[in-house]
Amino acid sequence: MIFLTALIFTVLLFVVPGELLLHWLARWMARPGLEEWIVLLLLNVFVFVLLFVSVRFTTVVIFDVGWERGRMTRRLAELLDVRGWRWLNLIGLVAVGTGAAILALEGRLPYPFWFLFAAITLGLFDLLGVREIVPLPAVRPFPRFDPAPLPAEAYGKRVSFTWEFWRAGQTDRPAIKSQEFILGDDEYSQARSRERFPRRPVQEYLKYVRLGFSPSIQRVTEHFRDASAADRLSSIDEVMNVVGFARGIEYRTDEETRDTGDYANFPIETLYDQAGDCEDHAILAATVLHNLGHDVGLFHLDLGASGHLALGYRPAGTTMLPPGPFCERADDGREYYYVETVPTAAASGLGEIDDQFLRDMEKQTVFAVT
């Protein structure tokens, strides 16, 4: 702030120059016992202090209170940062100070300029300041929904979930997470009354993802983004957290839950019932992750007599990655990793396909959520 204040002071008084105005004022205000130079000194100090307070106030009001506070403050701090330029400050101090001293010794430095050199000296004197290192940002995609949070649902079913969260690459012990959500009864009723889409072609399941983002699902999605921000989770860890959440939901066949052969759930139905089969888990995970901004799809394994649906995930933040060994190209031309979303399968890592599925698989297809 001192530097900015000194800069503005110098510009206002010695570039514009306002010092002439102050000098005129000092001459006018001078009285016996209060000499002109003293008045001018007081006026200069007053202007400097006024500028300093103004700069500080402006920073607080505009940046610290505003919605972009963190980013703007940091941006301004970076713009005025002395780091790397201390040698410049030092040279400036020495050069300006020496010049002023020589002129003063020769009696050729009028006293109004004492304030100029004093301001410059003050401005350049941040030689010892230490700025903290800015941590690397967490690379997470921007959410695809309006980030303004919804009001909490007052009425609805309170549903508690507990799941294991394996950070990417973690092999020892998972963190146990739990969370309670309030799921709207009306949303559930509306979803239950909706007509189901046909089972074939498989990409029909994408409609459950596209149409399944309801206010309750948005609250669930927001919870995961907030948790990622709080725990500084990377993009991959956020995916693992959501996948762990989906895998924590009980696996039950459609015969058990709906008394019918094949019945795909909208995400709210899976959460409300706290159960579902493979496509229900995959649709839920895909809906949450898609709206968190991740590139996901539905990964279909053709097992001959049967089929299996899981999540397809493309690590968008890690743009340097070429396709891995078990990736599959989706209809959008991009490569997606297989991610298992049901608790019954042994495979749990990103890209890991269960051995049994690998043996039985006749074909694999990915349908990107767009």
Partner: protein, 681 residues
Amino acid sequence: MPTAWVDGVGRSLLEPRFQQVVPLLAGFDDSAFAKAARAELKLLTPPQLGAVHLGCDLAEIATQIKLVTSAGYRSSITPLDLIPNQAAWCCCFQDLTGGRPLAPVLGEALQQKDDDRVRWVLFLKVHDSGDAAALLQRLETKSSWVVFLLGEEGELNRDVNLLAEGVVCLMLAGWERFCASSDLSFEKSLLLQGPQRAYVLGVGSNGIDLPYHRDRWSWRVAAAIAARWRQPAAGGAAPEPPDAGGMLRYMVPKRGYTLAEPAAGDAPRPGLIIGNVELDLAWGGGGEFRPPRAVSTGDGMRHYLAVVQDTANFLRAVVFPNTRRFMQLQARSLSEQAKRSFDRQLILSPAPEGLVAFLRKRLASLREPCVRAAHVRLNAFAGGADFVALLAEAHRRIEAVPSLVSAFLRLALIGVGLIWLFVGPLVWGGTSPLDGGLGQWVFVGAMILLAVLLVAVPASYAFRMRRAIRAMEAARRAMIDAHVWEVCGHLAEQFRALGEGLCRTLDQKETQLEALVRDLAADRWQAPAGTNQRMQFGDGAVDAVMTPKLGHLIEVTYTGFGQRLTGDELPLNAATWKVALLQEAAAQVEELLAATRFDQFADGAAPMFGNRRDLLTRVIEDARKPSLLMDRSAVQPPVVCIGPPAWESELNDLVSVQLHFLATRNLVAVSVRPLDRESTG
């Protein structure tokens, strides 16, 4: 056996010498005699006569009679035709020795009135005529019946095979003569004499003892082949060994990774050394860092570094486990493929000479890439720089990049100060700094300093920016190198295990091969002792014919041996090889013996017997000895001699001997003597 014989020697004999025929039914009981006769009939029936030579069980003879007397039968034997108004021959073969009764079907036929559509020809094996007494009593009223009796213990001891050979030859010769002759005399065709309906047969046969010579020669051929296997000359060149580099490439995921030999002058990269070849593993990720457009902020660089960090996490947590799993699956698949390839490579040499050396050479050729695989090692790259340290260093460098805006603002502040050193006294005090004294040097120095600073500030910024970019690039490269090095380590581990496993497989095969060689060498390859049952054709007679064909026998036996061993894998087991070789040799020898004409053996035997006529007269003499004990009249019974046409000239002055051509292996003669019941024992 007879395929070659029928195809080669007897083709001309089998061409039908007639277009019109009578059906020939043959019914057999379950005795050894009938079975031998059935086999002989099958042997001597050419395919084109299959529709008229109908063999069946004796119990089914009535059904067959219905068939051949039905209206549709004539059209079913096209292009042959039926001789009009002629009865079918119904030949029955039965063993009545040991008190066996006449077959019910024959008993029923005897009870019925003679049917002019059928002639009954019975070949009955008996101990003496008493075994068929009831039948013989009824024959006088049965003009369409004729009975031939024969036994094993007559003036000569004859086995059932010889008897069966004789009776079938008599039946077929008679049937052919009947169909071919113009007078259509049933009696003449079967050498029947007068109204007599019962006869005793005498059978003579001259040929080699096939089982004895087959066994002797099969061992000889097998021994010759086994000796050639051990010859030092390797047959055929060893195939190109599998490329170990190719095997290694197979294990690396095709997507994202490439394995290639480094170019000269390349910087050290993660890689493997296999044999004397170095292969560097490259990963397709990356792309160099481009500095952000907004030079006044480190946000872009920090974001990039965060992406590098995330990518490193992703590589470690996702890409590497999947790559490792892929390589494990590929290693398993490659191991199975390599073992199948071993089995395909371990085949018999084209010729038997040097087979052992051939197999050793192939095993050595297969071993080479496996040994190289087992000794694969990481190159000298040694993991490269520490990614974590480089990431931290890059972060420090990014934070050290100064703000250019800040620099110019400071420069402006300094500039104002320096300029006012000159302008201030001039404007405010009315004195020029160039008037003299130190002031003028202050002014000049300030201007020079300002100019220097204007150049130094951008230069300093560019220097720090470049250091940061280089640090980020180093971190990115270290991330990739760390990942690729980790993949290399696992690849080497998997490949080494694969190579060691394959070496063990080859060790087993080598051990098996050496044991096989030892066992085969230790074997004496001598035929078990046997007795030649037909001494008129001794070893020399057969050897004279077979020795020139030994080379051919070795060739075809070796080929057939290879086919017998053909499977998914060549069994390196001495017992299996010996059994297969002997079986194949026996089959080939038997086929060759069977395809060799009687004349050729006779030529070989001639030095022993003086001339061919002696062989012929011996057969006829044997045939004239009845197969049942009985008083022989002075009249020589007629004899039909069945053999090669070339022997016709030898028969010129022999009384009551006729030659008929049939595709028999041996020279067969059959005498037909009326049964004098009073004289039989």
